[in-house]
């Protein structure tokens, strides 16, 4: 039986009424946030000190530039190259006896200007060897790569494919390299994985690739950024909560333990960064650059410390994450800002290179089924029986 929508419609009406009711409160919070931003920007050094001395239960953006900055973009170079990488995967299916997973990376390299051109390709790789499908510690502990960990592995492969694109004939054109989603491997910050997993995936994986890209810059002009559409982050709002806190040395546990909704900071808390910047920025403008104070970044990223800014596009505010070496190089920062705007303009609201990389990478439901059928067929031809679980067979047969 499929979902009975007639039983849901009344609940959807209630959902709409609930959102409407919250709208006035949301607008009030945005107004307070704008005021808080202006007054906190007046003494940026005091704010930095307050951030450093604070003990909060939420993640706070680190201020770098004047936090109320509204920076228009420089004109984008007519000649530049955009390289984007995106991936999708087929996870280990525990209902199948063949233990393997697949990562498909899509690459789009688009050259603009005097000599326009495009290269679109996908690189699918099947992982099945014992040393490929698990992460093993020196003392023999094993963590299988599947689920959330496979998502991280995919992010690393997306970044590695960008490194591969560097091994091309040298070009004097500015290059913007784009990834989709966050450069911060958040799930590794949650301390649910042992250190050897973090070392393997982050320190010896993702960050090594970021280092290789970093060492290629700034000659030729090469910037790396990740693009987060419709971001849900609240780090800048949290910074304003901290700025509005009446205590000079903010300590949530000491002063506000057990208090909700009545704290001074609740006047701005509860909205998203993108809601603030949608109000504040004009189309094309970027916000100030902030640093991420996430524990995984401060602990491991070092020279690749993640910075971010928000940029107002025609249809949304996007969060752009960049490594420190891009944030602190004025030309690379300008290239990132202007090229992302140009990419969104060409891509009808979303960076066209990322969109095409996604199209190359996407693995749909039909592809998944065909993949498993092909695995079964090839194994069968080799005389290897591939049993699947009764549950999997039951879902496929759908008998009455």
């Amino acid at each position: 039986m499929s979902l009975d929508l007639s039983k849901i419609i009344g609940q959807i009406v209630n959902l709409a009424a609930n959102l409407k009711q919250k709208e006035a409160q949301r607008r009030s919070k945005i107004r307070h946030a704008v005021d808080a931003l202006a007054s906190a920007a007046a003494d940026i050094n005091a704010l930095k000190q307050k951030v450093e001395s604070s003990k909060t239960t939420w993640l706070v953006a680190g201020p770098k530039e004047s936090i109320d900055l509204r920076q228009p973009a420089k004109e984008c170079s007519t000649d530049y190259i955009a390289v984007a990488s995106d991936g999708s995967h087929i996870d280990v299916d525990r209902h199948q006896s063949a233990h393997c997973f697949l990562i498909n990376i899509g690459i789009a390299e688009l050259q603009y200007g005097f000599n326009p051109g495009a290269e679109l390709l996908s690189v699918p790789k099947l992982y099945f060897r014992d040393d490929e499908v698990v992460i093993m510690s020196a003392d023999g502990r094993i963590v299988p790569i599947e689920g959330q960990l496979l998502g991280i592995k995919r992010s690393i492969e997306e970044c590695r494919m960008l490194v591969d694109r560097l091994e091309r004939p040298e070009s004097s054109l500015p290059i913007i390299m784009l990834l989709d989603g966050s450069l911060i491997l958040w799930s590794l910050a949650e301390q649910i994985y042992p250190d050897f997993v973090v070392n393997e995936l982050l320190v010896n994986g993702f960050l090594k690739h970021l280092d290789k890209i970093r060492r290629f810059g700034p000659r030729p002009l090469l910037a790396l950024a990740s693009y987060i559409s419709f971001p849900r982050s609240t780090e800048v709002i949290n910074l304003l909560r901290l700025a509005t806190c009446p205590h000079q040395q903010v300590d949530c546990d000491q002063y506000c333990s057990g208090k909700f909704s009545t704290r001074e900071c609740d006047r701005v808390g509860g909205i998203l960064d993108r809601e603030l910047f949608t109000y504040l920025l004009a189309p094309g403008e970027r916000s100030a650059v902030f640093t991420s104070r996430s524990s995984v970044v401060t602990r491991h990223y070092e020279a690749n410390e993640i910075n971010f800014f928000y940029v107002r596009l025609d249809r949304e505010v996007a969060r752009i994450e960049i490594p420190l070496w891009v944030a602190e190089n004025e030309k690379l920062l300008e290239l990132t800002h202007s090229a992302i705007l140009d990419q969104c303009r060409r891509g009808l609201g979303y960076p066209v290179a990322l969109s095409e990389a996604h199209e190359q990478a996407v693995v749909n439901v039909g592809d998944r089924q065909q993949f498993w059928n092909l695995v079964g067929q090839v194994l069968g031809e080799d005389g290897i029986s591939m049993s699947s679980s009764a549950k999997s067979e039951s879902k496929r047969a759908r008998w009455i």
Partner: protein
């Protein structure tokens, strides 16, 4: 492959006079479809083309040309509102040339094996990925010396008005003959014989030969 390298790679042809334009992507006994190597560079309607066959070369007439998205689920959208030309649209969106494809469909009208020309369907269809060449003027002239291929065209059941294809084919072919008018008169007589029971259709085709 680098963009520059890719650009410098042109399709290899058997010799300099042959123009290779694409390869077979779908084939049956009576027709085949081919994908062009370059966007919008399909042979014209009615053009005589050839591809590898067994035992000889399969000859056919182009009856439909289509340019569309390579991926069925992706619709082409207008992009040039603020630009001055189609070329500017492609320069501003270089990915387009990789996402669009020009295909053409060909009705098989015979087979050429050495000096023998057969005006009937070959025993086996063209093989997928066989290269497709535009016939050279001397090949067109040689193949159309006999008009027996017209019977296959006249009886073809296709979505494109077949009489348009016949007329285009004959007009193109006439240019390769020393006396174009004499060729068209001869073709007109052959059509009159074949369409003797359908005067309206005959008149319609003959009007298109002028």
């Amino acid at each position: 492959m680098d963009i520059e390298q890719a650009k410098s790679q042109k399709p290899k042809t058997k010799n300099h006079s042959e123009r290779r334009i694409g390869e077979v992507i779908k084939a049956s006994s009576a027709e085949f479809a081919a994908q062009c190597y370059k966007l919008d560079e399909a042979p014209p309607l009615g053009c005589l083309v050839k591809t590898e066959g067994k035992p000889g070369e399969i000859y056919g007439v182009v009856y439909d040309v289509e340019t569309q998205s390579l991926e069925p689920g992706r619709r082409v959208v207008a992009r040039g509102e603020k630009l001055d030309s189609k070329d500017e649209v492609f320069a501003a969106n270089p990915q387009l040339s990789r996402l669009l494809s020009t295909d053409f469909k060909v009705m098989v009208v015979g087979e050429v094996e050495g000096k023998s020309r057969h005006y009937y369907l070959p025993p086996t269809p063209a093989a997928i990925h066989s290269f497709v060449y535009v016939c050279q003027p001397e090949e067109v002239r040689g193949f159309t010396e006999s008009l027996d291929f017209l019977s296959l065209l006249i009886n073809a059941k296709i979505l494109v008005p077949v009489d348009e294809v016949i007329a285009s084919c004959l007009r193109n072919a006439s240019l390769t003959h020393p006396d174009s008018n004499a060729f068209l008169v001869k073709a007109g007589k052959e059509l009159a014989r074949m369409l003797s029971n359908d005067i309206n259709r005959l008149n319609s085709v003959l009007k298109r030969l002028r």
